[in-house]
């Protein structure tokens, strides 16, 4: 139907409706209004119903004393602290397991991916079996299994596995000496930070020299020297300015030192092991997707095997690996909420669990937990998208 076919006296609305583009805009607007209206209705309904039984929506409880204790807290916390502080403690515990999980799952995942490509039949098949087993069992079972193995098989504090009277492994955690920092140690830290800044500059400088003259500096080796070895030498020259607080068995438990609790270890290992299987497959797919001709071309140019991998294959594979890797990082963060099953005090167990239960503010607490996961996920996505943009194919 062409424009000419529409008689001019037709009213404006039907003319708008007959235009394909306007029609699609109208439909989209109506759909948006309907969807927003639907959610507005549900929220309104919930608020009205809460008001009807006299339970207004209020966050005042956040400033009341929480009246419960949390075993793992990185900030000062006691049962006299507020629910808000309990939430922060939970949030830090969630962050710890998420970050540690992302690091370990990446290392394991990349290793698995490479092993899956190995020409050695045994390593290849071992990686294959591991991946298939782990991927096809729910992560909650992994968590319960690892936790069960730790608490049932490790000895009680009295019979702790003793590492030279300084560290002790028990089913209540791994007790290690805790560092107590003396003022001089800050000099070592300052040197360490300075070394990192220097190396960032030196890397660019070395690149420039190589571009100009073709001279190649062993940047990695110099890096290790300045960032690790130099601060270590200074540390010993200053007379080791760290006092170690060594754990000691007193009564029921070890006192002093640091403790890594079995709940954390179980959650960390189970989440990492589980996610690593997925990452392994992503890495394998990414590497396989880089055409073998690229490798052959590189060796034809006389580039060594290692540099072929780091300069030719991996940069191209990363473009394929990073987007699905992002969702694995999101998964590990969200799956950490299963912590509650084994008693790791994450954000769900604190504000979404005990606080919720003691104050009876289900809606308020669940909104907080929801927002926390939403913000965490969006931050991870944003960081990974930034990285993805940096490494994506530069089209000329």
């Amino acid at each position: 139907m062409s424009e000419v076919a529409i008689p001019p006296q037709r009213n404006a609305i039907s003319r708008l409706w007959n235009d394909k583009e306007t029609r699609s805009v109208i439909i989209q607007i109506v759909a948006t209004v309907l969807i927003l209206g639907f959610f507005a209705y549900i929220i309104r309904n919930a608020v009205d119903n809460l008001a009807a039984i006299g339970k207004g929506f209020s966050y005042k409880f956040l400033w009341q004393p929480s009246s419960y204790d949390i075993n793992q807290h990185f900030i000062e916390y006691s049962s006299r602290s507020t629910h808000f502080r309990a939430m922060l403690v939970g949030l830090l515990n969630t962050l710890l397991v998420a970050v540690a999980g992302i690091i370990l799952s990446s290392i394991l995942g990349f290793t698995l991916g490479v092993l899956r490509l190995s020409k050695n039949w045994l390593t290849n098949k071992l990686a294959y079996v591991y991946i298939e087993y782990v991927r096809n069992v729910p992560v909650l079972l992994h968590i319960l299994l690892v936790h069960g193995i730790i608490v049932h098989s490790l000895p009680v504090p009295k019979n702790a596995i003793n590492f030279n009277d300084t560290a002790f492994l028990t089913n209540r955690g791994f007790f290690t000496p805790a560092p107590e920092i003396e003022p001089l140690f800050w000099a070592v830290i300052g040197l360490f930070v300075g070394a990192i800044v220097f190396m960032l500059w030196f890397k660019q400088f070395a690149q420039k020299i190589q571009d100009e003259t073709g001279k190649h500096y062993p940047v990695a080796l110099i890096g290790v020297g300045t960032i690790v070895i130099l601060p270590l030498i200074v540390y010993f020259l200053l007379g080791s300015p760290i006092v170690w607080n060594i754990p000691e068995l007193k009564g029921f438990n070890f006192k002093g030192g640091m403790v890594i609790r079995p709940e954390f270890i179980a959650l960390w290992l189970a989440l990492s092991g589980y996610t690593a299987a997925f990452i392994g497959e992503i890495v394998r797919a990414g590497i396989v997707a880089v055409s073998y001709g690229q490798t052959e071309a590189a060796s034809a140019l006389g580039i060594s095997r290692g540099r072929t991998l780091s300069l030719v294959v991996i940069p191209q594979a990363l473009r394929i690996i990073v987007p699905p890797l992002t969702s694995q990082y999101l998964n590990i963060t969200k799956n950490s909420s299963l912590a509650v099953a084994i008693g790791y005090m994450d954000v769900v167990a604190t504000i979404g669990g005990i606080s919720l239960n003691q104050t009876g503010r289900e809606m308020e607490c669940m909104v907080i937990v929801l927002l926390i996961y939403l913000v965490l996920s969006l931050l991870i996505s944003a960081a990974m998208n930034w990285y993805n943009n940096r490494i994506k194919l530069v089209e000329r």
Partner: protein, 339 residues
């Protein structure tokens, strides 16, 4: 049809048909079934038996209410709930009444908008430890690892107790009783704490119950009772008087075996007559018929029978009546009179 479906869906995923409106009694009668909120399974209190039939102390109270209101103690739909979901289920109208070893507290009564029924079990938080630890009192628990079943006021009592006594401890908060027991039996914790009745139930389920002892200290008052939601006083009254009737029946010596004889016709004891509905007009005051209490008592017996059958000394839980004995026998169980 589509409109109703959409509306029903919307109502279901929002906080559902909230129960501030009166008329739960009429709703239950019209439905022909009582929705009773219970635990997901606590031996002796409410748990499905091998045939899938809910049994236990709390379950019996559900049946007594159903019998009083609907005339049939089997017309109960048991709604299992966790510590977290129980009040939401009640307040959202998924349940009509709650019997879930729930402690009556001021904040629950006021802020959570609940009406508590008379206390049907006087409990308190206790400690379960291995006998080979050599601990005889909770005051010796400084530095211990304590497993806590989360989702109750247990964390608060524990934190208060250890703080008040200047002792430290490592809390291990576990979501379910099963996982809590697993941690305790693996020696992840020295102590397991929850209400003493729950500990008795837990101890009975352990591999070797005699290797574990309950410490003498009871660190909190936990008056357990049923609850209804705010705003429906008629319905709350029904729940309240069914519980009272079961307690009074024990006081008057009326039980499920002799009830036919005692309530067949008006006798010499006016109290029994009023309970039986052979004198006065008590049932209609509740919006029920004259036989309400007779049916409630017939279904699972009076308070003593319910106690003995589910949690008493002859059961695996082996709980003594203690505080829960009738006031005539030195306990504090004392129900307001029917008159």
């Amino acid at each position: 049809m589509r409109v109703t479906k959409t509306a029903a869906f919307a109502a279901a995923i929002s906080l559902a048909a909230m129960g501030a409106q009166a008329g739960t009694l009429e709703d239950v009668k019209a439905r022909g079934e009582l929705n009773c909120v219970v635990t997901t399974g606590l031996a002796g209190f409410a748990a499905p038996d091998e045939n899938g039939r809910w049994e236990g102390f709390d379950a019996s109270f559900c049946r007594a209410v159903a019998a009083a209101v609907l005339g049939d103690g089997e017309k109960v739909k048991f709604v299992p709930s966790t510590g977290k979901t129980r009040f939401t289920l009640l307040n959202s109208g998924e349940g009509d009444i709650l019997f879930r070893n729930t402690t009556e507290t001021m904040s629950r009564d006021t802020d959570l908008k609940l009406n508590f029924l008379p206390v049907n079990y006087y409990d308190g938080q206790g400690f379960l430890v291995r006998s080979d630890l050599g601990v005889t009192s909770a005051s010796e628990l400084d530095g211990a690892s304590v497993c806590i079943q989360t989702g109750t006021t247990t964390e608060l009592n524990l934190a208060d107790y250890f703080r008040a006594n200047g002792m430290s401890y490592e809390p291990v908060n576990i979501e379910t009783n099963e996982e809590g027991i697993s941690n305790y039996s693996a020696n992840r914790c020295d102590v397991y704490t929850t209400d003493a009745s729950g500990l008795a139930s837990t101890r009975a389920a352990l591999e070797d119950p005699s290797a574990h002892i309950l410490l003498p200290e009871i660190i909190s008052k936990e008056p357990l009772g049923g609850a209804t939601r705010h705003g429906d006083d008629e319905w709350s009254d029904v729940g309240k008087w069914v519980v009272n009737a079961l307690i009074i029946a024990e006081e008057l010596g009326v039980n499920s075996t002799n009830i036919g004889e005692l309530c067949g016709a008006a006798g010499n004891n006016p109290s029994i007559n009023r309970l039986c509905g052979t004198e006065g007009d008590m049932g209609s005051m509740l919006g029920l018929d004259a036989q309400w209490a007779v049916r409630a008592i017939s279904v699972a017996g009076n308070y003593a029978e319910i106690f003995d059958a589910n949690i008493g000394p002859q059961t695996p839980l082996a709980l003594e009546r203690g505080l829960n004995a009738s006031w005539r026998d030195g306990g504090i169980l004392y129900a307001a009179p029917i008159r």
